[in-house]
């Protein structure tokens, strides 16, 4: 080639050129910037089809390709006992239509070198311009005629269960789970977590119903970007999507979750972890597209928005070398936003890192941000805004956001002015609102040995050790050979007095008090003939609450309001009444598994898991030495965990009863203390009447 000769000629030209300038370079100072270039936001065009579908088009003819993104603007959905079905419906949109099987869809998309992605909130993909009609034909088919084949659902279920298993060793995955459970709770769409059980509950009709209810053109936006004209895009969209039928969608509202009243440390053990994944987080109320959101984004960039100059990065990485990167997020959201600040750090500096992150949070609340810092952050945000405009997708997203969040049409054109108007006082006012170093979930995924050092950050003085789904963590070792469900339960029966003594108990009565949130109430529990049961809670002479069962039927009454007991509740009561139920759990339709040996306040316990006919489970722990039942734990149908501790066993007529029960569920704690336990007392049948 001519390469060498041409290069030498070029060099010759440049040497001449540089001689002409003849200026000695001053290297001691940064060169001055030229005049600032004008930042121009590209244009978009928009129209609405007759069926309500909104079309947004950004023309960009630089590369011969087109991207299509169909987005549904629906409220999030709470999935109850079938968590996972919404995302599965999204995944399986491309798993078959009336016309095409999954393998046909896959092959046709790959054949044109395109890619397509389906979610519960839309379908998107891109292709070269020359393939756009072929692409749209498949995209429209997927969007309008999915048929959710049963075999594809089963395959997806199998894969989902496998990936649930594989997530268990991912620190980021675990951290994401625990923070969303803590921030939003189990019953909020943002907090719900898939489980093996919820995935197994999913039926094909759930997917079909989801699609039929939520895939409607009037909540949909078709965003087209690339080498295409507005007219072309409009004709295409009409051709492929005008047959899409309207339908109304109900909007959904959710309660705003609150930040905790004091700091809570939530530790998720990950065995063998060599880093702690720290996330200090809580929900916030911050709406997108507001001036508040702009102020909050400046504040976040001061703290840890991604630049090297951010305080978390400077402090935890450049100064202390605790981490590769420390970052924060202040995320606005229409339903509920969140604050998050964290880092992955080596085990030894976990507590020091938490201290520094909290320190930086407090600084934002207590000190004004200096002008130079504010200016730096404004420069960073202006620069990244300008760079983002290189991608035509950015303009399309702006157009979409204006529609989605009902922003003024010039929101993005005036964004830089709004950014520049932010003052240090605005930042401090925002910090006082959204930076809460005393009301946070301090979540850490890591090696369990680290947990104790974090106790001091918790308002309660104790780190809560939990599984990633928020349930209490139980660290279980295998039980020694020879120990079985049967041996543990027989040992328990012997520990509380033995079969003979227990069989003599036909009735009993427990008299004591119940303490809840500092309020003391009288409690009385009666059991007759192993089948009849009554519990009443009184304040002085007034009965506040009672539960009665006559063997076949039961009711619960609260302040005079009666409600029949359901079957699950009665099964529970029957077992409570039957002191020997431990040995006859099979009679109640349950199966039992010995999980192993766990530690409970420095005492070893055997843990047995019972599975009820309805699939719910409970765990009971029995002292290895004492044989006594010390702890019970169950999760109800709504996923709420309740824990009972059995303490202060006392003996009455040769049988041991717990003198104290501590029950906690949903952050509430109730303590029962029994001052008297009567065996085979004379009980009146009238107490057990159920009408």
């Amino acid at each position: 080639m001519n390469k060498f000769s041409s290069i030498s000629i070029l060099i010759f030209v440049f040497i001449l050129a540089s001689c002409k300038t003849g200026v000695k370079v001053d290297r001691t100072h940064a060169p001055l910037a030229g005049p600032a270039p004008k930042i121009q936001i590209g244009q978009y065009q928009m129209t609405k089809l007759e069926n309500g579908l909104t079309l947004i088009v950004v023309e960009n003819h630089k590369l011969p390709r087109v991207s299509y993104s169909l987005r549904l603007n629906n409220d999030p959905i709470s999935e109850g006992e079938k968590i996972g079905y919404v995302s599965m419906a999204g995944d399986l949109l491309s798993a078959g239509t009336a016309k095409r099987s999954k393998s046909q869809i896959d092959e046709e998309i790959d054949y044109i070198g395109a890619s397509i992605n389906t979610t519960s909130n839309g379908v998107s993909g891109n292709c070269l311009k020359k393939h756009m009609n072929a692409f749209l034909d498949i995209m429209a088919d997927i969007t309008l005629n999915p048929n959710f084949p049963s075999d594809e659902l089963e395959k997806s279920r199998k894969q989902t269960l496998s990936s649930l298993e594989s997530e268990k060793t991912s620190p980021d995955g675990l951290s994401e789970k625990i923070t969303s459970v803590m921030n939003y709770g189990n019953n909020h769409p943002y907090g719900e977590q898939m489980t093996e059980k919820s995935v197994n509950n999913i039926q094909r009709e759930d997917l079909v119903n989801y699609y039929n209810l939520y895939f409607k053109p009037e909540v949909a936006y078709m965003v087209v970007v690339g080498d295409i004209t507005f007219d072309e895009a409009k004709k295409q969209t009409e051709k492929y999507f005008s047959s899409w039928k309207r339908g109304s969608i109900q909007s959904k509202k959710y309660n705003m979750p609150a930040a905790p009243s004091g700091n809570r440390v939530v530790f998720v053990p990950l065995s063998g972890a060599v880093q702690s994944t720290i996330d200090i987080t809580y929900p916030i109320d911050l709406k997108p597209g507001t001036q508040d959101a702009i102020v909050a984004s400046v504040l976040n960039n001061v703290l840890g928005g991604g630049g090297f100059q951010a305080r978390l990065m400077q402090n935890l990485r450049e100064d202390k070398a605790y981490t590769y990167g420390a970052y924060s997020t202040i995320a606005p959201d229409e339903v509920v936003g969140f604050f998050s600040a964290g880092a992955s750090v080596r085990n030894e500096v976990t507590d020091s890192s938490v201290t520094q992150i909290l320190f930086e949070m407090e600084r934002l609340v207590n000190e004004l941000v200096p002008d130079t810092t504010l200016q730096l952050v404004k420069n960073i945000l202006t620069g990244s805004f300008a760079r983002s405009l290189e991608s035509p997708q950015t303009v399309a997203n702006f157009a979409y956001n204006i529609q989605k969040y009902h922003l003024p049409a010039d929101y993005y054109e005036t964004y830089l002015q709004k950014l520049n108007s932010v003052t240090p006082a605005d930042l401090q006012a925002m910090a006082k609102r959204v930076i809460k170093p005393g009301n946070a979930y301090i979540t850490v995924v890591g090696n369990k040995d680290v947990a104790d050092k974090l106790n001091r950050f918790a308002a309660s003085g104790k780190a809560e050790i939990r599984n990633a789904d928020g349930t209490e963590f139980v660290d279980i070792k295998p039980a020694p050979v020879g120990i079985t469900v049967k041996s543990v339960l027989e040992n328990y029966i012997n520990a509380i007095g033995g079969k003979d003594a227990i069989n003599k108990v036909k009735s009993f009565e427990q008299i004591g008090s119940m303490n809840m949130s500092g309020m003391a109430l009288d409690v009385n529990i009666k059991m007759k003939d192993l089948t009849k049961f009554k519990m009443s809670v009184n304040m002085g002479a007034m009965e506040l609450m009672s539960q009665v069962m006559n063997g076949d039927k039961g009711f619960m009454s609260q302040m005079g309001q009666k409600e029949p007991m359901d079957e699950a509740m009665m099964a529970d009561v029957r077992q409570t009444a039957d002191l020997m139920s431990a040995l006859s759990y099979e009679r109640y339709g349950m199966t039992a598994t010995l999980l192993g040996v766990d530690m409970m306040d420095n005492e070893e316990v055997y843990v047995i898991e019972f599975k009820r006919p309805d699939g719910t489970t409970s765990k009971e722990s029995f002292g290895v030495l004492s044989g006594l039942k010390l702890r019970g734990e169950s999760v109800d149908g709504e996923g709420v965990l309740s824990v009972t501790l059995y303490e202060d066993y006392v003996t009455s007529s040769g049988v041991k009863f717990p003198g104290k029960l501590v029950q906690s569920a949903d952050q509430q704690e109730v303590t029962f203390t029994f001052k008297e336990i009567k065996i085979n007392p004379k009980l009146d049948d009238k107490d057990f009447i159920v009408e």
Binding site: N2, S5, S6, I7, I9, L10, I11, V13, I15, A17, S18, T21, V25, R27, H29, A30, P31, L32, G34, A36, P37, K38, H61, P64, R65, S103, D106, E107, I109, Y111, G113, A114, L128, H131, K155, K158, Q159, S162, E165, S166, T169, P171, S271, G272, V274, Q275, G307, F308, E318, A321, Y322, Y324, R346, L376, N379, I380, G383, A386, E390, S391
Partner: protein, 442 residues
């Protein structure tokens, strides 16, 4: 006459100046000190990507100093004779720019993404880095810990984080591709100040670098500025060491089981392949697409969709300067025997060896390649990096426009031949990653 000659030469050098919109136009030249410069002009957005690629990566490291190239990349943000410690990034961010760097087996790449009126700032910063970077002991000790955290974050604490590390370790005996760019903890701890000084003097010299700039610039003005900041940097005086031995093919099958805490079994097969840019490399790369690019690819269709053995299958070719590896791996579904997964993968490899692929499948691969080529030139930063890559490894930046022809020249027979030559038992490493925390492989 003279002017005519120059312009016609320029036209040869810049083949695409009058070409179609998809062609990437650029100018390139060398400074006297050996620095190669490539400029690409595009005024659509007022930004400029100033990038420097140094021809040094982990394959230039010596035994006992693995991770050095990457560690050193961290240190080169510390400052220079004229830039105080920690100020480097501040200059860029204050100018509204973004910056970072990364290190591979073969090269180290630095980039500053700036508003276009700050082009000169980028040149000043990069020339300071090349001319007289300053590394103090505080910086070394801080970044040593930061890099160790990066290793923990990306490898030690990640599910299957040891996947590539174990693969490289089992695949290479004579070539330094046997360790990943992050290096080992022992070596990271051992690196001394003197090692860095030597490393800088040897590798961070203009004759071992490509300065590639793309965006809202005018080439004439940019050339003058490049000259202003880079011409004074002395050419390196030390011979740049490069690994001499390449890894041979067909060393015999290597097979091992790696125990770890991850729950699902993972089966990986890696094969030794030729260096990038060779004719057979393109065939291997397309075989890779056939096997694992897209849902209809053969491994995905067979293992994931039809036999339901795997959660996913993936294939990956190391685009390395020296002969490297292509690997395919499958993450088994819960309870699936890894041997069954391996057999299913081998069935697919064998099929390509015995049967020619269909015309339609061949066209699919070509369409996939074409789509990739169009898509990857979407940002000026990407263009700057691609131009530097093509020049550094293949000696020809114009491949940014023409490399696709090399892919299109691959025939069905080439695919079959490549499969028979490289996807063989004697040429492979087979690793099972299985769950057993108590036997964890150290």
């Amino acid at each position: 006459m003279k002017f005519y000659l120059i312009t016609s030469m320029l036209a040869l050098l810049i083949p695409s100046i009058k070409g179609e919109s998809q062609k990437i136009a650029y100018t390139e030249f060398d400074l006297k000190n050996g620095l190669h410069v490539i400029l690409h002009e595009d005024h659509s957005t007022p930004i400029a990507a100033v990038t420097v690629m140094y021809h040094v990566g982990s394959k230039n490291e010596t035994t006992g100093r693995s991770g050095m190239a990457h560690f050193f990349e961290h240190l080169l943000f510390e400052g220079s004779d004229n830039i105080g410690r920690g100020q480097y990034a501040k200059f860029v961010e204050n100018a509204g720019g973004g910056l970072n760097a990364n290190t591979s087996q073969d090269r180290t790449f630095y980039y500053d993404l700036l508003p276009s009126n700050q082009l000169e700032l980028g040149l000043w910063l990069e020339s300071e880095r090349m001319m007289h970077a300053k590394v103090e002991i505080t910086g070394i000790e801080t970044q040593r810990e930061v890099v160790k955290e990066e290793k923990r974050l990306r490898i030690d604490n990640q599910p299957y984080g040891n996947l590539f590390l174990e693969t490289l370790d089992h695949a290479f005996d004579v070539h330094p591709y046997s360790w990943p760019p992050i290096g080992s903890m022992i070596d990271l701890n051992a690196a001394q100040e003197i090692d860095f000084q030597n490393f800088y003097k040897t590798f961070y010299v203009p004759n071992n670098a490509v300065l590639s700039i793309a965006g809202d610039i005018t080439p004439e003005e940019t050339k003058l500025l490049v000259e202003k900041y880079f011409a004074d940097i002395p050419k390196g005086s030390i011979d740049i060491p490069r690994p001499a031995q390449i890894e041979p093919l067909n060393k015999g099958e290597v097979r091992d089981t790696i125990w770890g805490k991850d729950q699902l079994a993972l089966v990986l097969e890696a094969f030794h392949i030729p260096a990038q840019g060779t004719k057979e490399f393109y065939a291997v790369d397309m075989l890779n697409k056939l096997l694992a690019d897209g849902e209809s690819s053969r491994l995905n269709r067979s293992l994931v969709d039809e036999k339901e053995l795997a959660l996913f299958s993936s294939a990956f070719t190391y685009n390395t300067e020296h002969p490297g590896l292509t690997m395919a791996f499958s993450l088994a579904n819960m309870g699936v025997d890894p041997k069954v997964v391996e057999d299913a993968m081998n069935t697919e490899f064998d099929k390509v060896k015995t049967e020619l692929i269909s015309d339609r499948e061949m066209q699919k691969l070509r369409n996939q390649v074409e789509n990739e080529f169009v898509t990857r030139n979407a940002s000026v930063a990407g263009i700057a990096e691609s131009l530097a890559n093509y020049y550094m490894y293949l000696g020809d930046a114009s491949l940014i426009n023409s490399e696709i022809e090399r892919y299109m020249a691959v025939t069905k027979e080439d695919l079959k031949n490549a499969a028979n030559k490289y996807y063989t038992k004697e040429n492979r490493v087979v690793l099972y990653f299985l769950n057993n925390p108590d036997q964890m492989t150290k």
